[in-house]
């Protein structure tokens, strides 16, 4: 028996919980927090033992990686949280095939730093390098190339999942394929990822060619995306959510492409890690303190001005302004200013990402931004991306678009914002849209059921087989699926 677990008889749920340390954990947005009973398994065997013990004792378990989900997806007020941070070994890395096998708690930062000097880069990365592979798999994260490379799961070769009974199950496209397509994107509700084999992609240079294109409206955004999609490796747009009238949706598109060795005279050197580090100072300030400077402008007038200034500077640089940027600098924009979320103050921020199919997004997104402006709750940061369908059961993506929006909670603690976002959510659902669980803290049971429909029946039918006692639960799952979890626990 391991040292972290009390020697209590099976079924002793009270002792199992109270032996765990009680930590105040939050979502990445900082606006949802919970005091959680937390254990840190130090090996896969220990993880399996903890899960089995909890399962026997009827204690719910939530898995947590780096806590980079914005809302309550890695929190649990009830039961236990198992923190995967100590399962952080890269078990193998083969530069000849580009396949890495790693434990679920390995942060993306460790993986790319290992692989890039050997000429490989993860095929899908989110806007920050700190999530763990397990977290990325659970949420089936996407990046600025989702329209081309799909979601994270499409590059997973296989994984080992610890089921609530403590068994280790391997799944791939050919072995336990149903589980493979459900656990990737399954929000941690089927078991705990133990090991993941990931296919990375070869790159010849450590840099990318990035082109900036200022655009004056949503119409222009869609036009440029349509025109450039086929030839771009990455395509993302920042949106000034304060712009109104005919300028609604104005912003700045970045089109990025990998460089062939022949296109970059410094291709080989640029693969070195020292070429990839983000700047330690920005505008002369140490970046660790930069969020303090952001704080005074994180209000409606300040952000209106900042967004305008950003748009004007993009416009000044002109259409087609092109430069070279390292992979890390282009991919991990969120890591430029460590602790940036602190600038939103003690209440934190709320991020909501709308997924709307093509072509409905072309009318829904402008309408959503106008509605948010009318309600007096404009987003401080908007990001537009293009998406394509993927084969996963609880996939958030389809042939369509997403608009990620950051909001301050406001003086009323978010009451007005939540009401406005409720209207936006209805618009999205009315257009056949979806939401992304890594960025959700607002949805209600009826809304998630409408968004995912019968796929949830299939998902929970599988959960009933693998996790009949509904051991795997998070605060998010209890918020979104109260009836389904109750039915499972009651054996209905």
């Amino acid at each position: 028996m391991d040292a972290n677990l009390p020697s209590a008889p099976p079924g002793s749920s009270r002792q199992l919980r109270s032996a765990a340390s009680l930590r105040v954990l939050d979502g990445f947005g900082g606006s949802v927090r919970a005091a959680c009973r937390t254990l840190v398994p130090s090996s896969t065997d220990e993880l399996a033992a903890m899960l089995a013990r909890a399962n026997d004792a009827g204690v719910a378990v939530a898995m947590r990686g780096a806590g980079r989900s914005y809302g309550d997806a890695a929190l649990s007020r009830d039961g236990l949280v198992l923190d995967a941070c100590a399962l952080n070994r890269i078990l193998s890395w083969d530069p000849s095939t580009g396949i890495a096998v790693a434990e679920a708690g390995v942060p993306l930062a460790d993986l790319w730093r290992r692989a890039l000097p050997d000429g490989h880069w993860p095929a899908v990365v989110p806007g920050t390098m700190f999530p763990t592979l397990g977290g990325m798999a659970s949420m089936n994260v996407h990046g600025k190339n989702q329209f081309k490379a799909g979601v994270f799961g499409e590059h997973v070769q296989w994984f080992d999942l610890v089921t609530p009974s403590g068994a280790l199950v391997r799944a791939s496209r050919s072995e336990n394929a149903e589980l493979f397509h459900a656990a990737l994107g399954g929000a941690g509700l089927l078991g705990a990822f133990a090991r993941i084999a990931l296919q990375l992609k070869p790159v010849e240079s450590g840099r990318m060619k990035v082109e900036s294109i200022p655009v004056g409206s949503f119409a222009e955004q869609f036009e440029v995306f349509d025109a450039r999609r086929a030839g771009a490796d990455y395509l993302v747009s920042w949106i000034d959510c304060f712009a109104s009238g005919s300028a609604v949706g104005r912003g700045q598109i970045h089109v990025a492409n990998h460089l062939h060795g022949s296109e970059d005279p410094r291709a080989k050197e640029s693969l070195r890690l020292e070429e990839q580090e983000l700047p330690s100072r920005i505008f002369g300030f140490p970046k660790s303190q930069l969020w303090r400077l952001m704080k005074p402008v994180l209000n409606d007038p300040g952000m209106r001005f900042t967004n305008l200034a950003k748009y004007l500077s993009a416009k000044l640089a002109g259409r087609g302004h092109t430069y070279l940027q390292s992979h890390a600098a282009f991919a991990f924009l969120l890591d430029y200013v460590p602790g940036w979320r602190l600038a939103y103050g003690a209440r934190g921020l709320l991020q909501h990402q709308l997924f709307v199919p093509e072509p409905a997004a072309r009318t829904v997104f402008p309408a959503a931004l106008r509605l948010l402006q009318e309600r007096g709750t404009p987003s401080y940061l908007g990001v537009l991306k293009r998406h394509k369908p993927d084969p996963f059961l609880l996939s958030h993506a389809f042939d369509g678009w997403s608009l990620a929006l950051d909001f301050p909670l406001g003086r009323d603690g978010g009451t007005r914002l939540r009401a406005a976002l409720r209207e936006v959510t209805e618009m999205v659902l009315g257009a056949g849209g979806k939401f992304y669980l890594a960025k959700d803290q607002l949805l209600e049971p009826g809304q998630i059921e409408r968004a995912y429909g019968e796929r949830l029946d299939r998902f929970f039918a599988l959960k009933a087989k693998i996790d009949p006692r509904a051991t795997m639960q998070t605060d998010q799952a209890r918020r979104l699926f109260p009836e389904r979890l109750r039915a499972l626990r009651e054996g209905r």
Binding site: R14, S18, V24
Partner: protein, 249 residues
């Protein structure tokens, strides 16, 4: 906005300051979970609260069994449907003869006055931090200000509890948690009854009233009850050691 409590736990609610705090919180409209060792006494307090239209639940628990605190805390919070105040008022001070050392007595004091306190106040402080609000009231004592010759175990337990509360305050205050240290002087309770040399004696109800007054400031105050003991505390702290060891205080 005025300080108000809707859901509270009072540990040590069967007598003394704890009972008085529970009654006063209930009278202010709070639903109160009464926690103590003696079931009959708890039922008496609960009945008194209910007779005046208040809401109270009874939970039998020996504060010396600190291992049972965390699960019971969770159970009570689930039953109340939340929590915004915890009062730890359980305390014990066995009689010591002049110059006596009795490990069993010292151990009982550490278990109830300190370990039980940490076991209850810890989860409450974390919960309040997570929800960014709540009041944690620890009934410590002026006895924790200095190591007096009369009762080393008691002074130690209270000094440690006072320090623990200060740490909890420094940890949780930035989350808007109100951590309140109450240092009563002599209060007329079962603990002090029959003891010699008491002065400025106040009733448990008066101590509870003053304690809640300090908590209601909402600014993580630490206060003597009644306030004039602050003067005693100040003097006692600054008496040089070579004089202090000659005193019978």
């Amino acid at each position: 906005m005025a300080w108000s409590v809707k859901k509270a736990i009072v540990v040590g609610a069967s007598s003394g300051i704890g009972e008085a705090m529970a009654r006063r919180l209930a009278a202010q409209g709070a639903e109160v979970a009464l926690v103590a060792r003696r079931h009959d006494e708890l039922e008496r307090v609960a009945a008194a609260i209910r007779s005046t239209g208040g809401k109270a639940h009874v939970h039998v628990h020996d504060a010396a069994q600190s291992g049972e605190a965390a699960p019971l805390f969770d159970e009570i919070v689930a039953r109340l449907g939340g929590l915004d105040c915890l009062v730890y008022a359980a305390g014990t001070m066995p009689e010591l003869a002049e110059g006596e050392f009795d490990f069993a007595k010292d151990r009982a004091m550490i278990e109830v006055n300190l370990l039980g306190a940490i076991a209850w106040c810890g989860p409450a402080a974390q919960l309040f931090s997570a929800q960014r609000g709540g009041t944690l009231i620890g009934i410590s004592s002026i006895a924790g200000e200095r190591g007096r010759r009369g009762n080393p175990g008691y002074c130690t337990s209270k000094a440690a509890f006072t320090t623990w509360l200060e740490s909890a305050r420094n940890r949780a205050a930035r989350d808007g948690v109100n951590v309140v240290t109450i240092k009563p002087g002599f209060v007329d309770t079962a603990m002090t009854r029959g003891k010699a040399g008491l002065f400025w004696l106040i009733s448990a109800d008066e101590a509870a009233r003053l304690s809640l007054q300090i908590a209601a400031k909402g600014n993580s105050a630490s206060g003597f009850v009644p306030a004039r003991w602050a003067l005693v505390g100040f003097v006692v702290r600054w008496i040089p050691s070579f004089l202090f060891r000659r005193m019978n205080f």
